[in-house]
Amino acid sequence: MGTILHAIAGYFFLMIVVRVLTRRPGGQMTLSDFVLVFLMGGVIILSTAGNDRSLTNCTCAVITIGLLHRMVSWAKIKVPRLGAIIDGTPIVLMKHGQIEDEIMRGMQVQRADLEAAARLKGIPSLDKADYAILERNGGISIIEKEEEGDS
């Protein structure tokens, strides 16, 4: 009983903390992100399992978290607004080749992150990019400028 309640509290608490940590630009984990994941996971497991390290207790905790995850995924489909709250929405970082400074600051994205995303798409520099969009998973999509004279 206690484990199930602790697992529910831990799931939602971690969800809030991870959500307000802002999206990691680039969508890939760095070494410092690993520190965060392992440390947070390790700390929260202490209160979830408590002193009862039996297979029964741990199985119940895993099932609870799995069930919660399914319920949240189902709720996100049913209520799109909930999806925006939990995962955020895509954000335009660059429009018509102009960087949106307010958005970049708010999302803690650096110009270097945009340049890296452009290079990954085979675009040599940002002045050849038309749009940059920070996706919900933290990835940055770059849309190249159309060549002049293209029809």
């Binding site: 307000v20 955020g88 895509p90 954000i91 335009v92 958005i103 708010g106 749009y131 969009i133 849309i143």
Partner: protein, 179 residues
């Protein structure tokens, strides 16, 4: 029988940027979210400050001391405790509490149940159950004397407790057990 999968046409109802790129951006929501983030982080910082100060247990604000009016017994305890986390309750009886080389202390049942007393230091000579608690007897000589209870509460909430020397005014107090 002809089975037909349920098909749904692709609706292009995602808000577009400049009428060309379907992003589904919601800047108004994002700005509100940034404000919400600031509130959440401010709350987290306050929570950490409260923890450092001991408002969440195990710190200066959590430490409490109660004494009987005649000074027969002084009790040092943590007014805010944490579930399944050990804390020490220290009893400092005065010389008036000792009779015939024996010190008797009454503790209410809540110390044993709600606050989960694990150990008593020193070990009592006898323990007698009754009157909503247990009366312990310790061999004693002269002050200063210290009796310690190691507590490990397993019931969340506000719990009252009573500790005293039989025949004298007891110390009555409450402590809150956090999850």
């Amino acid at each position: 029988m002809d089975t037909q999968a349920e098909l749904k046409p692709v609706g292009d109802n995602v808000p577009k940027v400049d009428g060309t790129i379907a992003v589904g951006e919601d800047l108004e929501f994002q700005r509100r979210w940034w404000k919400f983030e600031k509130v959440v982080w401010s709350f987290f910082v306050l929570l950490l400050i409260a923890d450092l100060a001991g408002a969440l247990g195990r710190g200066p604000l959590a430490n409490a001391k109660r004494e009987t009016a005649d000074g027969t017994l002084q009790v040092k305890y943590e007014r805010i405790q944490r579930e399944n986390t050990s804390s020490i309750m220290t009893l400092l009886p005065g010389q008036a509490a000792v009779h015939d080389g024996k010190l008797q202390l009454f503790v209410s049942d809540s110390i044993l149940k709600e606050f989960g007393a694990q150990r008593i230091i020193p070990q009592p000579e006898t323990s007698v159950v009754g009157a909503g608690g247990v009366t312990y007897t310790f061999p004693a000589t002269s002050t200063p004397m210290t009796v310690q209870f190691e507590l490990k509460p397993s019931f969340i909430g506000l719990h009252p407790f009573t500790i005293g020397v039989p025949g004298d005014e007891p110390v009555q107090a409450k402590a809150f057990v956090l999850p």
